[in-house]
């Protein structure tokens, strides 16, 4: 679970010049990580896949504008985070839908951990993003801040609030 990949500058540079193989390689490297990140934000497999697809389509359109390869990863995660928020914002009665889906699809329960899922869903989107990056992506607070476009102190604060909230779920 590396917080950051090796230097992407050559690949980003090639992709920016229209090299399809380079773009495909970037897609291969980041698809799964972004899908997992999106899923941990929206808890919906299809939505997560749609979000990542849209992330790459937007990236494809703007590759030519990106000059700094070091900014690429942060760019991808930021787009994914924004699209995840858009998705959550557009969902009417999100909690009710999740509960309804869980009741309608018992099979879904077997592949998930309802308690953890519920615990993470109870967090505000910003805290959930921070947890997804710091805990599951293995980012330090500075990396997470770069990816989400906020101050490091903001990430630390969000993590502190998230931990406080999540601990309630650990109590018997």
């Amino acid at each position: 679970m590396p917080a950051s990949d090796d230097d992407l500058s050559p690949l980003v540079h090639l992709a920016g010049r229209g090299d399809e193989a380079a773009f495909s390689e970037l897609f291969r490297r980041y698809y799964e990580r972004l899908r997992a990140f999106a899923w941990r934000n929206v808890f919906d497999s299809q939505a997560a896949e749609d979000i990542v697809q849209e992330t790459f389509i937007r990236t494809a359109r703007q590759m030519h504008a990106l000059r700094d390869g070091r900014a690429f990863e942060g760019w991808l995660f930021r787009i994914t985070a924004n699209l995840s928020r858009d998705h959550l914002r557009s969902r009417v009665s999100h909690e009710k839908k999740i509960a309804a889906a869980a009741m309608e699809s018992p099979g879904r329960q077997s592949e998930l951990s309802p308690q953890v899922e519920l615990a993470l869903q109870s967090l505000p989107a910003a805290q959930r993003e921070a947890v997804a990056l710091v805990y599951y992506e293995g980012c330090n607070h500075a990396d997470a801040a770069r990816r989400l476009g906020c101050a490091e102190a903001t990430i630390s604060w969000r993590i502190m609030l998230a931990k406080r909230a999540l601990k309630k779920f650990l109590k018997p």
């Binding site: 698809y31 299809q46 389509i57 557009s90 998930l112 906020c150 999540l166 779920f169």
Partner: protein, 185 residues
């Protein structure tokens, strides 16, 4: 996080759907081949929005024709009317206009205060029309720039951009940024 780790480790991401992954790559490559002028959208519904965006471009071209920059509020209102609950932002750079729409209508979108942001960087000027609280990312020659405008109770606009925060006017790297709240028409 140590005490939470066993708890959070229980969460397993469902396996990817390989056919959807392959489709995502295929569609991304189509967009890549057509960049920067054209965009191929994602799923079935998005084709509708692509057509809608094209319509919006025509619409905005008509709306913009003969109008000055200070008519931004009217432009935005026209597009809101065309796409109720879907308009996220309008980004104008040179002769190009990018109308950003939400895939799913959200009545709450248009209840936020409208904001106009002008970004000048390296000789290019990018004009953004969006809502308070909504992050907009624009591709500048120097790299993508993401901004979140927030209208204050006094009518000022606080702009958040990465670690930067300023009111109304600010500078990030080589870009100068000016933000103003638009009055509703």
């Amino acid at each position: 996080m140590k005490e939470l780790r066993p708890f959070l480790d229980q969460l397993k991401v469902p396996a990817a759907d390989e056919s959807r992954r392959a489709r995502a790559l295929e569609r991304s490559l189509v967009a890549f081949r057509n960049a920067p002028r054209m965009e191929r959208k994602t799923h079935r519904a998005a084709w509708i929005f692509a057509a809608a965006a094209a319509t919006a471009c025509v619409g905005i071209a008509l709306v913009l024709h003969g109008q000055r920059a200070d008519s931004s509020a009217r432009v935005f209102a026209e597009l809101e009317h065309l796409f109720p609950g879907q308009l996220l932002a309008v980004v104008r750079n040179g002769g190009q206009t990018d109308v950003r729409l939400s895939a799913i209508p959200d009545p709450e979108i248009s209840t936020d205060q409208r904001v106009r942001i002008t970004v000048r960087s390296g000789g290019e000027t990018t004009d953004i029309l969006t809502y308070s609280g909504r992050e907009v990312c624009v591709p500048l020659k120097s790299g993508p720039l993401c901004l979140t405008p927030l209208v204050t109770g006094e009518g000022d606009v606080l702009v958040l951009a990465g670690d930067n925060a300023f009111t109304r006017n600010g500078r990030i790297h080589s870009a100068t940024i000016r933000a103003t709240a638009l009055t509703s028409s």
